[in-house]
Symmetry: C2
Subunit: 244 residues, 2 copies
Amino acid sequence: MAQAAQTGQCADCPIRHRAVCSKCDADELRELEAIKYYRTFEAGQAVIWAGDDMGFVASVVSGVATLTQTMEDGRRQMVGLLLPSDFIGRPGRTRAAYDVTATTQVILCCFRRKPFEALMVDTPHIGQRLLEMTLDELDVAREWMLLLGRKTAREKIATLLAIFLRRGGGIPGPSLTSREFDLPLTREAMSDYLGLTLETVSRQMSALRKAGVIELVGSRHVRIPDIARLMEETGDDSDGGMLV
Amino acid sequence: MAQAAQTGQCADCPIRHRAVCSKCDADELRELEAIKYYRTFEAGQAVIWAGDDMGFVASVVSGVATLTQTMEDGRRQMVGLLLPSDFIGRPGRTRAAYDVTATTQVILCCFRRKPFEALMVDTPHIGQRLLEMTLDELDVAREWMLLLGRKTAREKIATLLAIFLRRGGGIPGPSLTSREFDLPLTREAMSDYLGLTLETVSRQMSALRKAGVIELVGSRHVRIPDIARLMEETGDDSDGGMLV
DNA sequence: TGTGCGATTTGATCCGGATCAAAGTCCCAA
DNA sequence: TTGGGACTTTGATCCGGATCAAATCGCACA
């Protein structure tokens, strides 16, 4: 959205700018235009369940959705956090592999699968853009694996807050050292993200509050008085994550 | 390798068949041929370190290598297991993001980056193939996240053994219910894969041995007397993993 | 045939996060 | 304005896996 605003183009649908057409070439956009439609989901609503037929691919226009995997006995792990401009679905796959759930109101820009795939064949740079995005997602997944496998509960929470900070707004400059925002996830969804229980998430949020790393207004609004201080808690190399 | 043998083509270099050229079209292969070269690494040898300049992309011809991430204090997490036909490197990235290490003798089929990227522009189906492979890797990463976040130590070990079983040989048919193989990883590398300590890996291997789920010949050779029994231990839906 | 060293196993103990339980808070609807 | 329900916090206790420590195995090499 921020980028769209900067270029003055494609204000209503990020996929034009970021997901498919990095140059906004007119001809290809006309094709995409013809097969796109919008859908809105309310907070808590399921977009699709794993195993369901999925006749579309989509780009998140606004709001937050999650990708989760569930084991037979109910253990759950989030495997994707979908923020505006993120892509949902995969060409060539007709059944959803994961549960997709809106955690806030979400607007999706959908493309029917078949025409989208046909368009990809004719338009190499849609495929190129999708490759770039998928490689970025793979990097995200690998950072996430380090978090799940090796970080402590406290580091996990700090890292998640840093991720919201990074993805929610611009990159903080030297003059901007504090930030505040609303958490788009419940404590339970945070626990699904981090591989913890919701009680541990709550306890560690309290611990970070008591340590002065964060301030809480209600349970969902967070203020970070000192971003550098938060980054120290993540276990990551100093501001490595913020520089990418 | 198995597939290459089946088609009777591309016996020496899997990238021809699986990584880049799913059809083995002659013209494109000639181009690839011109920029490819082989490198061999011994067990334990580093292929490249995170942050190093990386002038090539490559396909694993034989052997096993790993992708690992390390935190400042030494905590380590494996984020990729590279088996024959897997691809290393990413177009457009000049510095390695992860440590790559050979865990057995490894032969790589390398392509110098620049010519490879140039070739990708002219040859859409190389890009398409790479997109498919990257999407598959993303699915692997997401399964791995579920393992790291939610599985018990015993389930983790059983899952890893099942992964070796699946990727090491063909898909077991109804008549083939047992299998044996050499572990390509040390206990320590297994612990880096699973987000455990090496002591826990060793203990759980012993536990599975005592329970009759596996048999050990020395510490590295494993026999699985009953694959279905092993699958029960993984925590996954019954044989879901074997059917893909 | 030792000898030394890395890899592995096993034992004892500790601790971080899970589990079980009970309040507390907030918000919406009647 | 109050009652109910979802979400969150906090407390008490437990337990799986980490940590610290010490054998044991296996093998290349003198």
